[in-house]
């Protein structure tokens, strides 16, 4: 175990450094509320790709991805990597469309309100907000647990330090500060990942020794055709695709990019980058299973696959590798947490002009900053109190899988109505819940309904896949049956820039 003082010192130094950089950059670039939540047309391909990589790559890549690898093997790792890559690929096509039809937009919730009405808006707000908040709280829980494990840092200290410092620069500099620090964090995370992981393989005796260890521990982990691994991998693909398609983070970055072509290139690059990073991180679950004492039986009190990588780290690795991983984990958390603070604040800020009577730019900026503080304090509190926050992750994924396609199909279809989108989402959710293994006892205790439900799927495939496929199919049927004739031009007139409420057309290129 590395020293608590050294780890805390490193943590504070990194946090202070990035807070200073974020504040310094924001002083020159933040003028209006648009800068805080949209940073419109400000990033080229390099910075767009960097922020797309840094935003989603949180400490979960050192926790959840290795867990999937250690528990279900190479097939699940491939599924996880595809799951992370697919939403980026989807947004490389959908992103330019979003800019075309909503040139002055800010958030997916304001689109949901303008396109589908209040009911679907409320549903999307709930689902997107829940997913991002759970992601945020899980990141803070994850880093607090990781530093506690490798260096004995009290969990509350890590959560308060990380949440507090990130809040400082995010509440002041908003999205511009987040994207600027993301660029630096991505340039540090990528080489750290390579150096720490390569150092770990060499320390363990090379790839051959690692392979021998996995074969001794559990050879099915190396079987690409291992059926439970394939099922879980496919389930993850549906879950992540659905959840990321309702993640406000991406909508903000679609508008932050210079133009539609930059959006397309940035998301295409992120498809490859994110897929590769998750594949590498997942492979380290196999490495851990073959080289450390990893318990993958979820019913056992000794279950530790969820921290497989950090268990591996404790087995005779040089201190420099441990410190490199601590630094890596911190950078990963900061880049995600600042993104999520800002994204959660922005989905409400974008709606303030509708909720308040003609607020000026000063009031909106104040609102955005106050909302960021509320989000941050709530997330720190929940991360410290609710140990079961991770259980909510799959529920949020399920909701995302049910709502994603109906929400986005409205960008293309004139016929899909708000009622059609809502019914499709609810139908997908109902099927998903029927097979969902978490809270299964609760659902099955409902009189009459409980007896009708099919057996829950412990590998989640029918839950996530069912939710996504049924909501997609129902959406397509609803778009044919209902006689909606939506004019997408209405999105341009209804959704306006926050700093220029008049219909000026904005300054969006492409």
């Amino acid at each position: 175990m590395v020293s608590t003082a050294v780890t805390l010192g490193l943590t504070v130094a990194v946090l202070v450094g990035f807070t200073a950089v974020g504040l310094w950059y924001s002083r020159r670039t933040v003028g209006t509320v648009e800068d805080l939540i949209t940073a419109r047309n400000s990033t080229g391909t390099g910075r767009t790709t960097a922020t797309l990589v840094a935003s989603v790559m949180g400490v979960w890549i050192l926790l959840a991805a290795p867990e999937a690898g250690a528990s279900f093997g190479i097939a699940a790792v491939v599924g996880y990597a595809i799951g992370e890559a697919l939403p980026m690929l989807a947004y490389s096509r959908v992103g330019p469309r979003i800019r075309d039809v909503i040139p002055n937009g800010h958030s997916l919730t304001e689109y949901a309100h303008a396109r589908y009405g209040a009911a679907m808006y409320a549903f999307v707000l709930l689902v997107s907000g829940l997913y991002m908040f759970v992601f945020l709280a899980a990141e803070l829980t994850g880093i607090a647990g990781a530093l506690s494990l490798v260096a004995g840092v009290p969990q509350w200290q890590t959560a308060v330090l990380v949440g507090g410092f990130v809040l400082l620069y995010t509440s002041y500099g908003g999205l511009r500060a987040s994207i600027f620090t993301d660029s630096i964090q991505a340039l540090l995370v990528l080489p750290l990942l390579v150096v720490a992981f390569a150092g770990a393989i060499v320390s363990l005796g090379g790839a051959g020794t690692v392979h021998d260890g996995i074969m001794s521990a559990n050879p099915t982990l190396l079987d690409p055709g291992f059926v439970p691994g394939l099922q879980f991998g496919l389930a993850l693909s549906f879950a992540i695709l659905g959840a990321e398609l309702i993640n406000q983070t991406w909508w903000q970055r679609i508008y932050a990019a210079e133009d539609g072509q930059t959006v397309e290139r940035g998301f295409r690059n992120a498809t490859i980058a994110n897929g590769l990073i998750v594949f590498l991180a997942g492979l380290f679950g196999l490495v851990a299973a073959g080289s450390a004492d990893i318990v993958t039986d979820v019913t056992s009190s000794a279950y530790n696959a969820d921290i497989a990588f950090f268990v591996l780290l404790q087995t005779a690795f040089p201190e420099w590798i441990v410190l490199a991983v601590v630094l890596l984990a911190l950078l990963l958390v900061m880049s995600s947490v600042d993104t999520l603070f800002n994204a959660l604040s922005s989905i409400v800020t974008a709606d303030l002009p509708r909720l308040l009577s003609d607020p000026d730019d000063r009031a909106l900026k104040l609102g955005a900053r106050l909302l960021t503080i509320v989000v941050a304090v709530s997330a720190i509190y929940v991360s410290l109190r609710a140990r079961s926050v991770l259980r909510l992750f799959f529920l949020a994924d399920l909701l995302g899988a049910a709502v994603a396609f109906p929400l986005l199909y409205g960008l293309y279809s004139r016929r899909l109505t708000g009622a059609g989108a809502l019914v499709s989402s609810v139908a997908g959710l109902a099927v998903g819940l029927a097979y969902f293994p978490d809270f299964s006892g609760l659902l099955r205790s409902i009189p009459v309904l409980g007896d009708l439900l099919p057996a829950a799927d412990p590998l989640y495939l029918t839950a996530f896949g069912g939710a996504f496929i049924v909501s997609t199919a129902t959406t397509l049927v609803a778009a044919r049956l209902f006689a909606g004739e939506y004019d997408h031009g209405d999105l341009t007139t209804e959704i306006q820039r926050l700093d220029e409420p008049a219909t000026d057309g904005g300054e969006v290129r492409d």
Binding site: T45, L190, A207, P224, L276
Partner: protein
């Protein structure tokens, strides 16, 4: 399906590391390009 042999496993492991390293080099280049540092005078 047969399990991955040591050679294929090594290729996947080191290949993924090499892939991430290439992503880093590309990012460095692209961000420098965005900042205008690569423009010839």
């Amino acid at each position: 399906m047969a399990v991955l042999g040591p050679t294929l496993f090594a290729v996947l492991l080191w290949g993924a590391l090499l892939g991430v390293a290439i992503v880093f080099v590309y990012e460095l280049y692209a961000i420098a390009d965005d900042a205008g540092w690569l423009e010839s005078t």
